[in-house]
Symmetry: D2
Subunit: 328 residues, 4 copies
């Protein structure tokens, strides 16, 4: 980048996740620390197109590190997928004198940034913010740790009440394409079975597993079902199927929904977002662009956005095995 960066914008994009505010705060305060101007973009790329900007100084982000959601709001934006939309966004950024931006979001948000950069050679940096933990180039995404704790706390409560014999609980958790929440929260909560999008364990195995669990002396069982479960039945259909084939079971259902996106972020997510924000701003100032900040073995690393969005994360086979062993 030839141009010196004097003004950086920050935005949150796509589905929100806990810790995004900590990420915003970090970008803003790092700018303040380094005497760079910082501008908040409201409602993601939509606000960028509309010029919905607001200058942010160090005090603008007081008392947000512990809040879920995002003070900048977030949105999915169809317009930014078009050349025209990105043109408008570029004009707005130029008008505001913005030299670079940091986008906190998931793969879709990064793809937008990449397209924008390719067209305008505009410095961009990504921070992975999603509860799904499905971003290549980072062992953890901002929000994942909070989400799995939310699920685990809920299942702890359900287990408390599982005192009656022959009771079976199905708990639907988020995850249309990936099962990281289901798998981690399932192991953390001691679920008897975990149904994920990456593997079709099949209905037979579910019934077998429930029978075995019953025979082993457990008086109740909890099954976690990711939204995108490969079996292809939703949680209520699974309930009917099991009640038909294992009539001894009285099945109860919880559908967790959006509580998984909210809540005060955990310490892990706050620290992660704080570290990533520093790295994102400093990398821009070092002339880097088109990278996503990630974490590997507790070290911050940069991955080209073009690579980060190329592939999918894979299911953690070791954790699947741990889950199997734990349900002995």
């Amino acid at each position: 980048m030839a141009t010196e960066i004097k003004k950086i914008a920050v935005l949150t994009s796509g589905g929100d996740s806990p810790g995004m505010n900590a990420g915003i705060r970090s970008v803003v305060r790092t700018c303040a620390y380094l005497k760079i101007e910082c501008v908040g973009v409201y409602r993601g790329y939509q606000g960028m197109i509309e010029g919905d900007f607001k200058p942010l100084d160090a005090r603008s982000v007081n008392n947000i590190i512990n809040k879920g959601g995002t003070i900048l709001k977030s949105a999915r934006c169809e317009d930014f997928r078009t050349k025209e939309g990105r043109k408008k966004a570029y004009d707005q950024l130029k008008k505001e004198g913005i030299d670079a931006f940091v986008v906190i979001g998931g793969n879709g948000s990064f793809a937008g940034a990449l397209a924008f950069n390719e067209e305008y050679n505009f410095p961009v940096m990504g921070m992975p913010g999603t509860i799904d933990n499905d971003i290549l180039g980072s062992t953890y995404t901002i929000g994942f740790d909070t989400a799995i704790n939310t699920v685990v706390e809920v299942i702890d409560k359900i287990r408390d009440t599982a005192s009656s014999h022959n009771r079976l609980f199905f708990v639907e958790v988020m995850g249309r394409d990936v099962g990281h929440i289901a798998l981690n929260a399932g192991v953390g909560a001691g679920a008897e079975e975990i149904l994920i999008p990456e593997q079709n364990l099949g209905l037979e195995r579910l019934l077998e597993s429930l029978k075995r669990s019953k025979k082993s002396g457990k008086s109740s069982s909890i099954v976690i079902v990711a939204e995108g479960d490969k079996i292809g039945k939703n949680v209520f259909e699974l309930k009917e199927y099991v009640e038909e084939h294992l009539p001894i079971y009285d099945v109860r259902v919880s559908v967790l929904g959006h509580m998984q996106r909210g809540g005060n972020p955990t310490c892990f997510d706050r620290v992660l977002a704080s570290r990533m924000g520093v790295k994102a701003v400093e990398s821009l100032l070092e002339g880097k662009s088109n990278y996503m900040v990630g974490i590997r073995d507790n070290n911050l690393i940069l991955t080209p956005i073009s690579e980060a969005i190329k592939a999918h994360t894979e299911i953690d086979e070791e954790l699947v095995r741990v889950s199997d062993i734990m349900t002995t």
Copy 2:
């Protein structure tokens, strides 16, 4: 009661509720304090019929005051509704030398105790343990306070993420016949609309309310729906109805389910259960029988079980009005 009471049994019956363990602990420790023997009955009346007893001393109930569920397990018991079942239970109690029992549960459990007392003139005392708060003779039941906090905490998380415009959340909470959880948690969580079993507000009003909420500048809304909502549609049917009639809204659903019965009891529920346990045992020792311990204006009172189970609690009109005003 002519017979001196030297041995008291305690059981939990019906759906479990947070704070039952604190109630058990209180009955056990009050007995220990007063040098009365105490026996735990497992799995409610079913265990009574089967003689599933275990002596409990003060140390047996260490470290349970903060645990959800019930260490004695709970169950619904069809057999106890029959004369034969109650005969068996009586024989078991006599065989064990038990002189009286305290049952922690809801209306069904109390009706059983009443029938038993009428047949055998056996000293019984009830403690209201249910998350539904639907027991006449007590302003609060053990478990209600915990349940409404669970719901409120979940909705707080959902609200965090309600950053997108035009998003509407339906949250189904427990309450087949009564709306106390829905109403209290709804006011506590700042819900825009609360659908309860006691009132048919009608679908028209729901649509009106949502339109008004939108017009007033709110970018998202949360509607609480009790299971037994009078409108007669379940939460997914309501979602379809609203999406059809108010297409601007993107509706998301959470079904909380049994998490509402679990969790560590709140301080309120623990203190309430602790106080009620003392009162229950002392009342039995004073020769009283067939009463339920309740709380009114922070004082413990006794209500004849026959009265307690006769009528329904009524909807709190003041609170309905507060809810209406708060959604301005």
Copy 3:
């Protein structure tokens, strides 16, 4: 009151308590509902004297019902204790066209309101906001329920780790003059001993109690000490005393401090504050003045402020007894 009330101010005063925001929200939204103007006064009486006002409409109080602290800030104000200070405050209120105010706070705040009303015949209404629960005329104050839950959750954690033998924990909780937090949280957490300002149990009894607890088979004990404990030793002095006289004990200390004033309010505190706000505004509009809104047996009542501040709350003897029995 001859003058019709068209504009109401609301302020929080003294030490803050969780639920104050819910109270502010309720006053504001009740005004909006009844088409009355509402004005927020910042930093309590200090802001009133300085004219630190801001109009509040229904949307100004979005998303605050679940937040601890007070968006209006709070302060103790020496100036308002003087005739001159109150004169300035009156002039500011008149200048702003304010016809009445609702103050959320404790006894000191109410005394100020009373003096002000006597001098200017200005309509005032109080809402009890303090974690101490020491206000006559209300069974519960806004914030108390949250505070006792905070303490209980902390002690639950401490108890988890009390696995080693002969370990004793002293936990200092708030309460300079009253022991309601200590007593309720102590019963709720299953503390072995509770030292409060209202009773001098004496050091002898403490040692006796600890010896008995040890002998009864408990491997660890928790003692709650209110700040204003009558024995007159602070928690570190008590530690030294016990370690000297009962050397088998390894004593650990926690001083909870201001965490007890914060945190998201419980459902109970939110509902209580919401109900009280409606009552406060409606009572002012009915021409009432100089009352504090309170709750008795789940009904809202009005108590003349002059009475509310006259006397002290008393220790709950029944609860002291329950505590004694529970530590069997």
Copy 4:
């Protein structure tokens, strides 16, 4: 190891940490899965010396994954530091037919295992269980994540109430020799200053930092002080010092103490402990001994115990820098 391993013992040793139960459960269930006998040793090495053993099968560890503390109790044991003590332990293990053990604990516990292995060539495996995160060979220890979340949640509450101007809070957290809790929780909670054992920032810098924080417009500040803070003053001495040198500040103190060791473990700690337990048992069966299971970049690794206990963890300079930037 020539001998085939048919029976494995598991113990927890030293200060307990949240997640130890999940670790025990994992060792037990992995043994059950692999048809190996498993024996629990109570009270750490002390129980090993005394032969305080209990066979554990898969059902013995039901419903403990979510509990703080350790069902096996823990203790520090002087006797095991002597040759005689270890001889007794060996005899007990032999008598019980135990072929190997897994110890969950910190450096002291590992040193004991190492000495034992050297003397008796007895297969041992370590799992790092301590809230301090001060074990070489593992990026995370079991319990650390829970502890930092406990601290952060407490400070969130304190910050809520920090509404008054010129208020300063000192919060003492655990960490006699290492500042990992202080540093991570401090960044996560947005503390203005963090005093740790590894660095003597000096009292001057503290005063400067507080003055700067004040000037930057912050109305309140939170300072985290690790127990072993290098400045050498305890938290009450620091309070006095600051109040003397910066009289505008009203300083309040919280001493968190043992709450940091308890609480339900986070999902992270449960998953970590579950994975480590599998690895520990499988490594023993593969004939490995004298290793500690650790985690690096989300992969489980083995480090020779002799290396793990040799050196200290170092302060995370990057995180110190992030903290400095965040307090801008």
